[in-house]
Amino acid sequence: MSSVKIELRKDQVEKIHAFCDQCGNEPGELINILHRTQEEFGYLPAEIQEVIADKLALPVAKVYGVVTFYSFFTMIPKGEFPISICTGTACYVRGAEKVLSEFKKLLDIQVGETSADGKFSLSCLRCVGACGLAPVVLVGDKTYGRIAPDDVKEILEEAGGARTRGQGD
């Protein structure tokens, strides 16, 4: 599983327990519980999976099996600005591939990785259903449509700038 060991604080463990309790500690609600936990913590490291497995009386392997099956769940923390590039067919035929390589080049990371400063992470997703805007890039909740490789630098600067402004507030 993940290489870095993390210590969960007592209140964090209690929070996970609360999510399980709200779902009646039902093993059938595992996916819902994982959704809520990931929303809270941003990712699902091994230590969190152990807490959930213990609480629902399930083998950790089972929880791990579910976490790794679904692409929505991640065991690596996302960057402050998660960048997702749509690689659905409409985006693909309109040049998503080139946009993706530009992001890889400028951030110097591969898909599924987070930049060393923890600012940006890069992922691909399959169709956000905005094919009219192809190719589409998501930065956090913000959607950018009809992106060309030349726009990539600006997008990164805009996100970085937003953070600086946010810190000043």
């Binding site: 039902e26 093993p27 059938g28 609600e29 595992l30 996916i31 819902n32 994982l34 959704h35 099996g65 579910v66 099956f69 679904y70 692409s71 929505f72 769940f73 690689t87 659905g88 067919t89 409409a90 693909y92 035929v93 309109r94 997703l125 399959r126 169709c127 956000v128 259903g129 905005a130 094919c131 009219g132 192809a134």
Partner: protein, 487 residues
Amino acid sequence: MTNRQLRIALRNCGSINPERIEEYIAGNGYLSLGKVVTGMEPKQAIQLLIDSGLRGRGGAGFPTGLKWLYAMNSEADQKYVVCNADEGDPGAFMDRSILEGDPHSVLEAMAIAGYCIGADKGYIYIRAEYPLAIRRLKIAISQAKESGLLGENIFSSGFSFDIDLKYGAGAFVCGEETALIHSMEGERGEPSLKPPFPAESGYLGMPTNVNNVETLANIPVIFEKGADWFSKIGTEKSKGTKVFALAGKVNNVGLIEVQMGTTLREVIFDIGGGIREGKKFKAVQTGGPSGGCLTEKHLDTPIDYENLVANGSMMGSGGMIVMDEDDCMVSIARFYLEFSVDESCGKCAPCRIGNKRLHELLDRICQGNGTDADLERLRNLGEVIKDTSLCGLGQSSPNPVLSTLDNFFEEFESHVRDKKCPAGVCRDLLEYFILEDNCVGCTACARACPVGAITGERKELHVVNTAICIKCGACMEKCKFDAVVLI
């Protein structure tokens, strides 16, 4: 884009406020539910649906009424109605639009299904990637409950029905109904062998009826206007309309709804406004990763379930991606295969291993290392995967490869025999070349080249030595005169 279209499933999308139940009711909403639960026997209602000829819009096109009949005939204390809103085909977004624009039509249809098969509980299995649709559904469910259209004793008929949401977590295979049910139970979304069908043993082992969003959106109107009205629309075996998500290289992109039997030419050229930038039409991909690529010769074929399958594609959920002369069909086939390889759940060997091998073959061909024997292998392996996979994903994943082999064989041949990519897409098969007419001899390219592959005197034509060139593209980026081209 509005003429030539007939909106049944999308009838309310964009014209009512989806967050106000009053607006849905004003357009005869929930009238059909009232009519069915107070005045019709379940059998009678199912017969009406069978007579209408409605078939599942999620892909395979199974008659919806028959599905309900099987679920009704299964005896159990508890049954379930499930709405499949795990729309995962890249390039398809009709379900999202319906859920965001007209959520009540889906709820109403689920309640009718519940009454007919004898279920009092419904679930909508929806992708977590659709936050707006989730929000609108939550609002719609609570409004319907407040108005007494969901919950206990609906229309004082003694029939009760409740709906909850279940969230997907990003697995394409969960659109397959047995995999969807496993996912609802909190398991890995792996499909299981049918029979038993969900109508006998589904969610928590109980009889379960699973319908797709667009299928459900048709149902309230069918009960309002009658089976005859619906069965007059469309072709002999495919009734009604189909929503398509038109995208790719057409001028007008977006959702369209046309009668079954409309031709591809009408969709792409009349509604879609033709190909962008006056380029030449090459292919249209229907049915997503399970479908195939159709070409010029299929443009006048009426679109229905049977015709698409006969031509090596399928209806699928209704994604329709148009491609022009700049698209390489070999790399398109590889693109779809990559998707299937990523999304294969890994349970059965033909899909898990076979698709991986297919993808490697295509990779080799795109890199210029393919042989004639590889083309043979592609076809044989594709057929075996289709015949032996466990679920719909594997049974249809070779379609994009087989249909491009059928329709664009010459393009495969150029990749294999001439080591050329006619569309100019496969980078490994292309070479950098400097155009004599454009080159002014500024030396910018030669200075940018990291391996010294470009030679030429100042103010004279420069030349690329393709034997040394590493195809990094630095020369092309630096050239201000568009003199460097890939051919």
